[in-house]
């Protein structure tokens, strides 16, 4: 089985977000980058499938050279080879087109991604890739088992779950508890250094999105503290001041 896992390279979940150049650009200063948390679940499930029934895992990132440590980490976790599409991932449509271009001729049985990136929060790259390749896409997937040429999935829906069956190949946007996050061990880290990381150039795309400006939410006002014996005061504030009851 051939599995493609697409990973984003995103600020650590505890990062404070800032912009520079007149709010036109993300400020990476002091920010630690990680594999997108949902993408990490996708990768972990791919590695589990490889361990249980054998698979070759290619990991792909659309990004500039600074994403390579993140890609190496994915190799250390268990991917066999990596591809970096050498471009700034400006929007979901751009990223998805690069992924589809790469995957088109490679006949992957499974393309796994995260349900969403935690920078762009589009939740759409898997759907666009599915559409461009003419194969099904399912998201958010919380359980994925393969039996021969058929997959059994659970998809999270509002207030519950939906179970599906579908033939390979397809694209899945993954989330927990599909697998346990994996931490690279020493052997993984050593072998990752020599695994192939191929850099390819992007194709041109008119994605129809022009970023204008970024902004931060207005700062939160100060909290009003209420004594525990005065819960009635809280209720009255919620009613009359905040007007949310």
């Amino acid at each position: 089985m051939k599995i493609l896992v697409c990973i984003s390279h995103v600020p650590d979940t505890t990062s404070k977000i800032n912009f520079t150049d007149n709010n036109s650009r993300f400020d990476p200063q002091g920010v630690q980058f990680i594999i997108g948390p949902y993408d990490d679940y996708a990768l972990a499930r791919a590695v589990e499938l490889k361990e249980s029934s054998g698979a070759a895992i290619t990991v792909l990132n659309v990004g500039l050279v600074d994403t390579e440590p993140t890609i190496r980490k994915a190799l250390a976790i268990g991917a066999d080879e990596a591809v970096r599409v050498n471009a700034e991932p400006t929007d979901s449509f751009f990223v998805a087109t690069q992924i589809a271009e790469y995957a088109r001729a490679k006949s992957f049985d499974l393309i796994l991604m995260g349900r969403e990136s935690i920078d762009y929060n589009g939740g759409v790259v898997h759907g666009i890739v599915g559409e461009l390749l003419g194969i099904p896409s399912v998201s958010p997937v919380m359980k994925l088992d393969i039996e021969g040429n058929t997959a059994k999935l659970a998809r999270e829906i509002e207030g519950g779950k939906e179970y599906l069956e579908l033939p390979l190949p397809f694209v899945a946007g993954c989330q927990e508890p599909i697998a346990e996050w994996k931490i690279p061990n020493m052997r993984g880290i050593m072998s990752a250094r020599t695994k192939p990381l191929n850099v390819i150039e992007p194709v041109a795309v008119d994605s129809g999105i022009k970023p204008q400006q970024f902004e931060l939410p207005p700062p939160k006002g100060t909290v009003k503290m209420i004594a525990p014996e005065n819960v009635a005061e809280l209720v009255s504030l919620l009613k009359n001041e905040a007007k949310v009851l």
């Binding site: 759907g127 896409s137 509002e158 599906l164 909290v223 525990p228 209720v235 949310v244």
Partner: protein
């Protein structure tokens, strides 16, 4: 300008988020057509006129009773062409967002999801998106003639602006292969207020000590007509189902009121609640980081404060 709105339904009723999508489309201005797929009550469909739809198309084919992503995307794309609609509005949801992606790729549209405000058309067509999981916003211009917009909860206010309209039966032919992803069964909490759509959320963390104490949270939620939520460790430990877990890696909520009980307020949790209008925090530790993100706070033991709060709320009703 023709605008198509895909309206989602559950148990024959139009979802509240979809009414927001209709309101959003109406506010853009133009002719608003709503499209519903599968089994939906006819009165529900007619009433879409009240919120701004000038016509309603209904594909009642039972094949569409289940939300199959690919088949829905095809049906919507066909309808968009048929109605010469330039804009498609969808509400972001576990079904809406994946569909929006496929439709946009199919019809060659500019795509923006997680949109939080009405478009600014004073210069081009600009929308504001929530990014970095609620920690920032991006203003983006959608440059193609066709546009697909996925809106986040509260992007538009649902108001009565018209009267019921008649419903036009509609048919679309979708290739069988679009149903390859077959839904075999589903589990769904019934009769509860759904977390992503709730106006009030009562949420508990590890400070609640164990699942046996959730009755207090549920009682409070019931009195308030609220949904219940929890922090990640609570769902990791199996105290509560996964779909209740709020935060960066869980459900992102945007209620009028979020009440957090025994939750420390880790940044990953805050990322899922920072779009709430008003936040109340109850925690026994005065230094819990959640207080910095709160509007109202009580330093106290949940097991002491909750019953009192419940009584006070009942008394105020």
């Amino acid at each position: 300008m023709n605008i198509l709105v895909f309206v989602e339904s559950a148990e024959g009723k139009i979802k509240k988020n979809s009414l927001e999508a209709v309101a959003y489309a109406y506010a853009i201005g133009g002719k608003v057509t709503a499209l519903a797929l599968g089994d939906v009550g006819s009165e529900e469909l007619q009433n879409l006129g009240k919120y701004g739809a000038s016509s309603v198309l209904h594909v009642s084919d039972s094949k569409f009773n289940q939300g199959v992503i690919q088949a829905y995307a095809t049906a919507i794309a066909i309808t968009m062409q048929n109605e010469s609609a330039d804009i498609l509005v969808i509400s972001d949801s576990s079904l809406g967002t994946p569909i929006a992606a496929r439709v946009a790729a199919r019809v060659g549209a500019s795509l923006a999801t997680n949109v939080v405000s009405l478009p600014d058309t004073s210069k081009g067509f600009n929308v504001k998106r929530s990014i970095y999981t609620g920690k920032a916003f991006a203003n983006v211009e959608l440059t193609k003639t066709k546009k697909v917009i996925g809106i986040k909860k509260n992007a538009a206010e649902v108001k009565e602006v018209g009267s019921p309209v008649s419903v036009t039966p509609f048919q679309v032919t979708v290739p069988e292969t679009d149903f390859n992803a077959r839904i075999t069964s589903s589990e769904k909490a019934t009769g509860e207020v759904l977390l992503p759509e709730a106006n009030i959320v009562v949420s508990g963390g590890r400070g609640m000590k164990g699942p046996e104490h959730w009755g207090m949270i549920e009682d409070l939620a019931k009195t308030l007509g609220a949904a219940t939520g929890c922090s990640k460790p609570v769902s990791d430990m199996g105290w509560r189902p996964h779909h209740e877990h709020v935060g960066q890696t869980g459900v992102k909520v945007a209620p009028q009121l979020y009440i957090a009980i025994g939750i420390s307020g880790a940044i990953q949790h805050l990322a899922g609640v920072n779009s709430s209008k008003c936040i109340v925090v109850i925690n026994k530790d005065a230094d819990a980081p959640f207080f910095k993100a709160a509007d109202y706070g009580i330093v106290g033991d949940a097991f002491d404060v909750l019953p009192k709060l419940h009584e006070a709320l009942k008394a105020a009703k």
